[in-house]
Protein backbone atom coordinates (compact mmCIF):
# COMPACT_ATOMS: atom_id res chain seq x y z
CA UNK A 1 0.00 0.00 0.00
CA UNK A 2 2.81 2.30 0.91
CA UNK A 3 4.49 1.49 -2.37
CA UNK A 4 1.37 2.04 -4.36
CA UNK A 5 0.95 5.45 -2.81
CA UNK A 6 4.46 6.55 -3.51
CA UNK A 7 4.17 5.62 -7.16
CA UNK A 8 0.88 7.34 -7.42
CA UNK A 9 2.27 10.56 -6.01
CA UNK A 10 5.30 10.46 -8.27
CA UNK A 11 3.17 10.08 -11.32
CA UNK A 12 0.94 12.96 -10.30
CA UNK A 13 3.72 15.30 -9.34
CA UNK A 14 4.55 16.83 -12.76
CA UNK A 15 0.88 17.45 -13.43
CA UNK A 16 0.51 19.05 -10.04
CA UNK A 17 3.43 21.38 -10.62
CA UNK A 18 2.10 22.37 -14.03
CA UNK A 19 -1.28 23.06 -12.46
CA UNK A 20 0.30 25.21 -9.79
CA UNK A 21 2.22 27.19 -12.41
CA UNK A 22 -0.98 27.78 -14.37
CA UNK A 23 -2.78 28.88 -11.22
CA UNK A 24 0.01 31.30 -10.41
CA UNK A 25 -0.10 32.68 -13.92
CA UNK A 26 -3.83 33.22 -13.65
CA UNK A 27 -3.53 34.77 -10.20
CA UNK A 28 -1.23 37.50 -11.47
CA UNK A 29 -3.88 38.91 -13.86
CA UNK A 30 -7.23 37.96 -12.30
CA UNK A 31 -10.45 39.29 -13.76
CA UNK A 32 -12.60 41.60 -11.65
CA UNK A 33 -15.53 39.76 -9.97
CA UNK A 34 -18.06 41.74 -11.99
CA UNK A 35 -20.99 39.37 -11.49
CA UNK A 36 -20.48 39.33 -7.70
CA UNK A 37 -20.29 43.13 -7.58
CA UNK A 38 -23.47 43.43 -9.63
CA UNK A 39 -25.28 40.92 -7.43
CA UNK A 40 -24.28 42.92 -4.34
CA UNK A 41 -25.41 46.16 -5.97
CA UNK A 42 -28.75 44.59 -6.85
CA UNK A 43 -29.25 43.19 -3.35
CA UNK A 44 -28.57 46.65 -1.91
CA UNK A 45 -31.03 48.25 -4.34
CA UNK A 46 -33.67 45.69 -3.37
CA UNK A 47 -33.11 46.39 0.33
CA UNK A 48 -33.33 50.14 -0.31
CA UNK A 49 -36.64 49.73 -2.13
CA UNK A 50 -37.99 47.80 0.88
CA UNK A 51 -37.09 50.78 3.10
CA UNK A 52 -34.32 48.84 4.86
CA UNK A 53 -32.62 52.17 5.59
CA UNK A 54 -35.38 52.69 8.11
CA UNK A 55 -35.86 49.20 9.55
CA UNK A 56 -32.41 47.55 9.28
CA UNK A 57 -30.07 50.46 8.71
CA UNK A 58 -27.03 48.87 10.38
CA UNK A 59 -27.02 45.91 7.98
CA UNK A 60 -27.72 48.11 4.96
CA UNK A 61 -24.89 50.46 5.94
CA UNK A 62 -22.56 47.54 6.31
CA UNK A 63 -23.56 46.16 2.91
CA UNK A 64 -22.88 49.53 1.29
CA UNK A 65 -19.54 49.80 3.01
CA UNK A 66 -18.50 46.35 1.93
CA UNK A 67 -19.46 47.08 -1.66
CA UNK A 68 -17.32 50.22 -1.61
CA UNK A 69 -14.52 48.19 -0.06
CA UNK A 70 -14.93 45.60 -2.83
CA UNK A 71 -14.65 48.28 -5.50
CA UNK A 72 -11.58 49.72 -3.79
CA UNK A 73 -10.05 46.23 -3.75
CA UNK A 74 -10.73 45.92 -7.49
CA UNK A 75 -8.95 49.19 -8.17
CA UNK A 76 -6.00 47.87 -6.17
CA UNK A 77 -6.05 44.57 -8.11
CA UNK A 78 -6.91 42.57 -4.97
CA UNK A 79 -9.42 40.45 -6.82
CA UNK A 80 -9.79 37.70 -4.22
CA UNK A 81 -10.54 40.26 -1.52
CA UNK A 82 -12.88 42.02 -3.94
CA UNK A 83 -14.87 38.88 -4.62
CA UNK A 84 -15.19 38.04 -0.92
CA UNK A 85 -16.19 41.58 -0.01
CA UNK A 86 -18.76 41.61 -2.82
CA UNK A 87 -20.25 38.35 -1.52
CA UNK A 88 -20.24 39.68 2.04
CA UNK A 89 -21.96 42.84 0.86
CA UNK A 90 -24.62 40.83 -0.92
CA UNK A 91 -25.43 38.57 2.02
CA UNK A 92 -25.46 41.57 4.36
CA UNK A 93 -27.92 43.36 2.03
CA UNK A 94 -30.06 40.22 1.92
CA UNK A 95 -30.02 40.12 5.71
CA UNK A 96 -31.06 43.76 5.75
CA UNK A 97 -34.03 42.94 3.48
CA UNK A 98 -34.99 39.89 5.53
CA UNK A 99 -34.91 41.82 8.82
CA UNK A 100 -36.94 44.63 7.28
CA UNK A 101 -39.61 42.17 6.16
CA UNK A 102 -39.76 40.73 9.66
CA UNK A 103 -40.08 44.12 11.38
CA UNK A 104 -42.89 45.06 9.00
CA UNK A 105 -44.73 41.76 9.42
CA UNK A 106 -44.48 42.03 13.19
CA UNK A 107 -45.83 45.60 13.17
CA UNK A 108 -48.89 44.46 11.21
CA UNK A 109 -49.51 41.63 13.69
CA UNK A 110 -49.14 43.92 16.70
CA UNK A 111 -51.65 46.34 15.22
CA UNK A 112 -54.13 43.55 14.54
CA UNK A 113 -53.76 42.12 18.04
CA UNK A 114 -54.22 45.56 19.59
CA UNK A 115 -57.40 46.29 17.68
CA UNK A 116 -58.87 42.92 18.63
CA UNK A 117 -58.13 43.69 22.28
CA UNK A 118 -59.88 47.04 21.94
CA UNK A 119 -62.89 45.40 20.35
CA UNK A 120 -63.21 42.97 23.25
CA UNK A 121 -62.94 45.79 25.80
CA UNK A 122 -65.52 47.81 23.93
CA UNK A 123 -67.87 44.85 23.87
CA UNK A 124 -67.56 44.23 27.62
CA UNK A 125 -68.20 47.87 28.37
CA UNK A 126 -71.30 48.18 26.17
CA UNK A 127 -72.88 44.94 27.42
CA UNK A 128 -72.15 45.96 31.03
CA UNK A 129 -73.92 49.30 30.62
CA UNK A 130 -77.23 48.06 29.32
CA UNK A 131 -79.00 46.10 32.10
Amino acid sequence: MNVFHSHHILRLRPAGIAGLLMLTACASVPPAPTANLQAAQQAIATAERADAGRYASAELGEARFELTAANTAVSQQHMISAERLANESRVEAELSSAKTAYVKAKAVNDEMTNSTGTLIQEMQRSSGDKP
Binding site: V91, A98, N109
Partner: protein, 327 residues
Protein backbone atom coordinates in the same frame (compact mmCIF):
# COMPACT_ATOMS: atom_id res chain seq x y z
CA UNK B 1 16.01 11.68 -8.55
CA UNK B 2 15.72 8.50 -10.50
CA UNK B 3 12.59 6.48 -10.17
CA UNK B 4 12.64 2.81 -10.90
CA UNK B 5 9.49 0.91 -11.42
CA UNK B 6 10.75 -2.48 -10.40
CA UNK B 7 7.92 -3.81 -8.35
CA UNK B 8 8.04 -1.03 -5.82
CA UNK B 9 10.31 -2.75 -3.31
CA UNK B 10 12.82 0.11 -3.26
CA UNK B 11 11.33 3.04 -1.50
CA UNK B 12 13.93 5.76 -1.22
CA UNK B 13 14.10 7.70 2.05
CA UNK B 14 12.96 10.86 0.29
CA UNK B 15 9.75 9.25 -0.88
CA UNK B 16 9.15 7.82 2.54
CA UNK B 17 9.56 11.24 4.10
CA UNK B 18 7.22 12.80 1.54
CA UNK B 19 4.56 10.19 2.15
CA UNK B 20 4.97 10.48 5.88
CA UNK B 21 4.65 14.23 5.80
CA UNK B 22 1.57 14.06 3.62
CA UNK B 23 0.01 11.53 5.96
CA UNK B 24 0.98 13.68 8.94
CA UNK B 25 -0.45 16.78 7.30
CA UNK B 26 -3.68 14.94 6.62
CA UNK B 27 -3.87 13.82 10.23
CA UNK B 28 -3.02 17.28 11.54
CA UNK B 29 -5.63 19.16 9.51
CA UNK B 30 -8.60 16.92 10.24
CA UNK B 31 -9.20 17.78 13.89
CA UNK B 32 -8.58 21.53 13.45
CA UNK B 33 -12.00 23.14 13.59
CA UNK B 34 -11.99 26.59 11.95
CA UNK B 35 -12.51 29.27 14.58
CA UNK B 36 -16.08 30.50 14.67
CA UNK B 37 -17.58 27.70 12.62
CA UNK B 38 -18.90 25.98 15.74
CA UNK B 39 -20.82 29.10 16.75
CA UNK B 40 -22.40 29.32 13.30
CA UNK B 41 -23.34 25.62 13.46
CA UNK B 42 -24.79 26.18 16.91
CA UNK B 43 -26.96 29.05 15.67
CA UNK B 44 -28.18 26.95 12.77
CA UNK B 45 -29.00 24.00 15.02
CA UNK B 46 -30.94 26.33 17.29
CA UNK B 47 -32.95 27.57 14.32
CA UNK B 48 -33.55 24.04 13.06
CA UNK B 49 -34.79 22.85 16.44
CA UNK B 50 -37.22 25.75 16.95
CA UNK B 51 -40.62 24.21 16.15
CA UNK B 52 -42.02 27.59 15.08
CA UNK B 53 -39.20 28.34 12.67
CA UNK B 54 -37.61 25.06 11.58
CA UNK B 55 -39.70 24.42 8.48
CA UNK B 56 -40.66 27.93 7.52
CA UNK B 57 -37.69 28.93 5.34
CA UNK B 58 -36.45 25.65 3.84
CA UNK B 59 -34.51 27.22 0.97
CA UNK B 60 -32.65 29.71 3.18
CA UNK B 61 -31.96 27.05 5.80
CA UNK B 62 -30.50 24.76 3.14
CA UNK B 63 -28.25 27.57 1.92
CA UNK B 64 -27.20 28.35 5.48
CA UNK B 65 -26.45 24.68 6.08
CA UNK B 66 -24.28 24.53 2.96
CA UNK B 67 -22.42 27.68 4.04
CA UNK B 68 -21.84 26.28 7.54
CA UNK B 69 -20.47 23.06 6.02
CA UNK B 70 -18.02 25.07 3.93
CA UNK B 71 -17.01 27.05 7.02
CA UNK B 72 -16.39 23.83 8.92
CA UNK B 73 -13.85 22.58 6.41
CA UNK B 74 -10.32 22.58 7.80
CA UNK B 75 -8.44 25.48 6.24
CA UNK B 76 -5.04 27.05 6.89
CA UNK B 77 -5.75 30.46 5.34
CA UNK B 78 -7.13 32.50 8.23
CA UNK B 79 -8.67 35.16 6.00
CA UNK B 80 -10.52 32.50 4.07
CA UNK B 81 -11.73 30.94 7.33
CA UNK B 82 -12.96 34.32 8.57
CA UNK B 83 -14.72 34.95 5.25
CA UNK B 84 -16.43 31.56 5.27
CA UNK B 85 -17.51 31.91 8.88
CA UNK B 86 -18.87 35.39 8.18
CA UNK B 87 -20.87 34.13 5.22
CA UNK B 88 -22.20 31.18 7.21
CA UNK B 89 -23.14 33.39 10.14
CA UNK B 90 -25.03 35.84 7.93
CA UNK B 91 -26.81 33.14 5.96
CA UNK B 92 -28.07 31.61 9.20
CA UNK B 93 -29.35 35.05 10.24
CA UNK B 94 -31.06 35.50 6.87
CA UNK B 95 -32.75 32.12 7.28
CA UNK B 96 -33.85 33.02 10.80
CA UNK B 97 -35.33 36.38 9.73
CA UNK B 98 -37.15 34.77 6.81
CA UNK B 99 -38.57 32.04 9.03
CA UNK B 100 -39.65 34.61 11.63
CA UNK B 101 -41.38 36.65 8.92
CA UNK B 102 -43.18 33.60 7.62
CA UNK B 103 -44.21 32.65 11.15
CA UNK B 104 -45.59 36.15 11.75
CA UNK B 105 -47.55 35.93 8.50
CA UNK B 106 -48.95 32.55 9.47
CA UNK B 107 -49.94 33.91 12.87
CA UNK B 108 -52.20 36.41 11.12
CA UNK B 109 -54.75 33.73 10.32
CA UNK B 110 -55.04 33.05 14.03
CA UNK B 111 -55.25 36.73 14.96
CA UNK B 112 -57.91 37.34 12.31
CA UNK B 113 -59.92 34.38 13.61
CA UNK B 114 -59.71 35.78 17.15
CA UNK B 115 -60.86 39.15 15.92
CA UNK B 116 -63.79 37.69 14.00
CA UNK B 117 -64.78 35.67 17.07
CA UNK B 118 -64.70 38.81 19.23
CA UNK B 119 -66.80 40.66 16.69
CA UNK B 120 -69.31 37.81 16.58
CA UNK B 121 -69.51 37.67 20.37
CA UNK B 122 -70.18 41.40 20.47
CA UNK B 123 -73.05 41.10 17.98
CA UNK B 124 -74.53 38.10 19.77
CA UNK B 125 -74.57 39.89 23.10
CA UNK B 126 -76.15 42.99 21.60
CA UNK B 127 -78.82 40.89 19.93
CA UNK B 128 -79.52 39.07 23.23
CA UNK B 129 -79.97 42.35 25.07
CA UNK B 130 -82.35 43.63 22.40
CA UNK B 131 -84.32 40.37 22.43
CA UNK B 132 -84.64 40.54 26.20
CA UNK B 133 -86.04 44.03 25.95
CA UNK B 134 -88.52 42.98 23.30
CA UNK B 135 -89.66 39.97 25.34
CA UNK B 136 -90.12 42.15 28.40
CA UNK B 137 -92.19 44.61 26.43
CA UNK B 138 -94.34 41.78 25.09
CA UNK B 139 -94.97 40.38 28.55
CA UNK B 140 -96.04 43.76 29.78
CA UNK B 141 -98.31 44.06 26.76
CA UNK B 142 -100.01 40.76 27.53
CA UNK B 143 -100.70 41.79 31.13
CA UNK B 144 -102.01 45.19 30.22
CA UNK B 145 -104.15 44.55 27.20
CA UNK B 146 -105.19 48.17 27.07
CA UNK B 147 -101.61 49.29 26.61
CA UNK B 148 -100.77 46.52 24.14
CA UNK B 149 -100.08 48.80 21.25
CA UNK B 150 -98.02 51.09 23.37
CA UNK B 151 -95.97 48.12 24.52
CA UNK B 152 -95.42 47.02 20.95
CA UNK B 153 -94.15 50.41 20.01
CA UNK B 154 -91.94 50.32 23.10
CA UNK B 155 -90.57 47.07 21.81
CA UNK B 156 -89.95 48.65 18.42
CA UNK B 157 -88.22 51.53 20.10
CA UNK B 158 -86.13 49.12 22.09
CA UNK B 159 -85.21 47.30 18.92
CA UNK B 160 -84.29 50.56 17.26
CA UNK B 161 -82.25 51.53 20.29
CA UNK B 162 -80.53 48.17 20.12
CA UNK B 163 -79.77 48.71 16.44
CA UNK B 164 -78.46 52.16 17.20
CA UNK B 165 -76.33 50.72 20.00
CA UNK B 166 -74.89 48.18 17.58
CA UNK B 167 -74.02 50.96 15.17
CA UNK B 168 -72.45 52.98 17.95
CA UNK B 169 -70.39 50.01 19.06
CA UNK B 170 -69.14 49.53 15.52
CA UNK B 171 -68.33 53.23 15.19
CA UNK B 172 -66.48 53.37 18.48
CA UNK B 173 -64.46 50.27 17.65
CA UNK B 174 -63.52 51.97 14.39
CA UNK B 175 -62.44 55.01 16.34
CA UNK B 176 -60.45 52.80 18.68
CA UNK B 177 -58.70 51.23 15.70
CA UNK B 178 -57.88 54.68 14.33
CA UNK B 179 -56.46 55.88 17.64
CA UNK B 180 -54.52 52.62 17.86
CA UNK B 181 -52.97 53.39 14.52
CA UNK B 182 -52.05 56.86 15.70
CA UNK B 183 -50.47 55.43 18.81
CA UNK B 184 -48.55 52.91 16.71
CA UNK B 185 -47.32 55.69 14.40
CA UNK B 186 -46.23 57.80 17.40
CA UNK B 187 -44.35 54.91 19.00
CA UNK B 188 -42.72 54.16 15.66
CA UNK B 189 -41.45 57.73 15.47
CA UNK B 190 -40.11 57.48 19.00
CA UNK B 191 -38.42 54.19 18.14
CA UNK B 192 -36.86 55.74 15.07
CA UNK B 193 -35.44 58.61 17.08
CA UNK B 194 -34.01 56.11 19.54
CA UNK B 195 -32.49 54.17 16.67
CA UNK B 196 -30.70 57.23 15.34
CA UNK B 197 -29.32 58.09 18.76
CA UNK B 198 -28.23 54.51 19.21
CA UNK B 199 -26.75 54.47 15.69
CA UNK B 200 -24.23 57.16 16.62
CA UNK B 201 -23.25 55.08 19.69
CA UNK B 202 -21.45 57.96 21.39
CA UNK B 203 -20.98 56.97 25.01
CA UNK B 204 -20.06 59.45 27.68
CA UNK B 205 -16.82 58.39 29.43
CA UNK B 206 -14.25 60.19 31.56
CA UNK B 207 -12.26 60.78 28.39
CA UNK B 208 -15.21 62.50 26.71
CA UNK B 209 -17.80 61.18 24.28
CA UNK B 210 -16.60 57.97 22.66
CA UNK B 211 -18.00 57.16 19.25
CA UNK B 212 -17.33 53.65 17.99
CA UNK B 213 -17.23 53.16 14.24
CA UNK B 214 -17.92 49.48 14.13
CA UNK B 215 -19.04 47.28 11.31
CA UNK B 216 -16.73 46.25 8.55
CA UNK B 217 -15.03 49.57 8.00
CA UNK B 218 -12.02 47.79 6.66
CA UNK B 219 -11.42 44.53 4.89
CA UNK B 220 -9.18 42.05 6.64
CA UNK B 221 -5.67 43.40 6.52
CA UNK B 222 -6.64 46.43 4.51
CA UNK B 223 -6.54 50.07 5.56
CA UNK B 224 -6.87 51.84 2.25
CA UNK B 225 -10.61 52.02 2.02
CA UNK B 226 -12.72 55.05 1.41
CA UNK B 227 -14.47 55.75 4.70
CA UNK B 228 -17.38 57.40 2.85
CA UNK B 229 -18.97 53.98 2.86
CA UNK B 230 -19.53 54.14 6.60
CA UNK B 231 -22.42 56.32 5.51
CA UNK B 232 -24.19 58.28 8.16
CA UNK B 233 -21.84 57.75 11.09
CA UNK B 234 -18.83 59.68 9.86
CA UNK B 235 -21.00 62.31 8.24
CA UNK B 236 -22.88 62.73 11.51
CA UNK B 237 -19.53 63.19 13.20
CA UNK B 238 -18.51 65.83 10.64
CA UNK B 239 -21.78 67.67 11.20
CA UNK B 240 -21.23 67.44 14.95
CA UNK B 241 -17.69 68.83 14.69
CA UNK B 242 -18.85 71.66 12.46
CA UNK B 243 -21.49 72.56 15.00
CA UNK B 244 -19.09 72.50 17.97
CA UNK B 245 -15.84 74.03 16.65
CA UNK B 246 -14.20 74.02 20.10
CA UNK B 247 -14.18 70.23 20.33
CA UNK B 248 -11.26 68.10 19.21
CA UNK B 249 -11.19 64.41 18.45
CA UNK B 250 -8.69 61.63 19.10
CA UNK B 251 -9.03 58.73 16.67
CA UNK B 252 -7.88 55.31 17.80
CA UNK B 253 -7.65 52.34 15.46
CA UNK B 254 -8.04 48.78 16.69
CA UNK B 255 -7.71 45.36 15.07
CA UNK B 256 -8.72 41.88 16.03
CA UNK B 257 -6.03 39.59 17.43
CA UNK B 258 -5.18 37.78 14.23
CA UNK B 259 -1.78 38.44 12.71
CA UNK B 260 1.31 39.55 14.58
CA UNK B 261 1.26 42.54 16.88
CA UNK B 262 3.61 44.78 14.87
CA UNK B 263 1.50 44.29 11.81
CA UNK B 264 -1.67 44.98 13.78
CA UNK B 265 -0.21 48.15 15.27
CA UNK B 266 0.70 49.44 11.82
CA UNK B 267 -2.65 48.41 10.39
CA UNK B 268 -4.63 50.04 13.19
CA UNK B 269 -2.57 53.23 12.75
CA UNK B 270 -3.32 53.26 9.02
CA UNK B 271 -7.02 52.74 9.75
CA UNK B 272 -7.08 55.61 12.23
CA UNK B 273 -5.21 57.73 9.67
CA UNK B 274 -7.80 56.86 7.03
CA UNK B 275 -10.61 58.13 9.24
CA UNK B 276 -8.58 61.22 10.11
CA UNK B 277 -7.98 61.88 6.41
CA UNK B 278 -11.68 61.59 5.78
CA UNK B 279 -12.47 64.17 8.47
CA UNK B 280 -9.84 66.62 7.24
CA UNK B 281 -11.03 66.15 3.66
CA UNK B 282 -14.48 67.14 4.90
CA UNK B 283 -13.05 70.43 6.10
CA UNK B 284 -12.26 69.63 9.74
CA UNK B 285 -9.03 71.38 10.69
CA UNK B 286 -6.15 68.89 10.97
CA UNK B 287 -5.06 70.35 14.34
CA UNK B 288 -8.35 69.22 15.85
CA UNK B 289 -7.85 65.59 14.88
CA UNK B 290 -5.19 63.21 16.17
CA UNK B 291 -4.86 59.52 15.30
CA UNK B 292 -3.24 56.55 17.03
CA UNK B 293 -2.99 52.84 16.29
CA UNK B 294 -3.72 50.60 19.26
CA UNK B 295 -3.42 47.20 17.56
CA UNK B 296 -5.35 44.37 19.13
CA UNK B 297 -5.35 45.94 22.61
CA UNK B 298 -8.53 46.67 24.56
CA UNK B 299 -10.84 44.28 22.69
CA UNK B 300 -14.52 45.07 23.14
CA UNK B 301 -15.58 41.51 22.36
CA UNK B 302 -14.15 38.01 22.32
CA UNK B 303 -11.74 37.27 19.50
CA UNK B 304 -12.97 33.69 19.33
CA UNK B 305 -15.97 34.38 17.11
CA UNK B 306 -16.28 36.08 13.74
CA UNK B 307 -18.73 38.62 15.08
CA UNK B 308 -16.50 39.30 18.09
CA UNK B 309 -13.53 39.93 15.82
CA UNK B 310 -15.71 42.08 13.62
CA UNK B 311 -16.57 44.24 16.63
CA UNK B 312 -12.92 44.45 17.58
CA UNK B 313 -11.97 45.70 14.11
CA UNK B 314 -13.07 49.20 14.88
CA UNK B 315 -12.12 52.83 15.08
CA UNK B 316 -12.97 54.78 18.21
CA UNK B 317 -13.41 58.51 18.01
CA UNK B 318 -13.00 60.24 21.35
CA UNK B 319 -14.66 63.62 21.26
CA UNK B 320 -13.08 65.87 23.86
CA UNK B 321 -15.12 68.01 26.19
CA UNK B 322 -14.97 71.68 25.21
CA UNK B 323 -11.99 73.55 26.80
CA UNK B 324 -14.21 75.52 29.17
CA UNK B 325 -15.45 72.37 30.89
CA UNK B 326 -12.44 70.09 30.47
CA UNK B 327 -10.21 69.53 33.45
Amino acid sequence: MKVTNNGGCRVTPLIAVTVASILLAACATVPVEPVGAAAARNNLTQLQSDPNLATRAPQAVAEADAAVRVAEQPEEDKDLVAYRVYMADRKVEVARAQAQTRFAEDQRVLITAQREQARLDARTREANVAEGQVAQARAEGAEQKVAAQQARSDADTAQQAAAAATQQAAASSQQAAASNQQAAAASQQAAELQLQVAALQAKPTDRGLVLTLSGVLFANGNADLSPSASGGNLDKLVAFLNKYPDRTVAIEGYTDNRGNSDYNLGLSQRRADTVRAYLTNQGISAVRVSSTGKGASDPVAGNDTASGRQQNRRVEVIISDPPSTSR
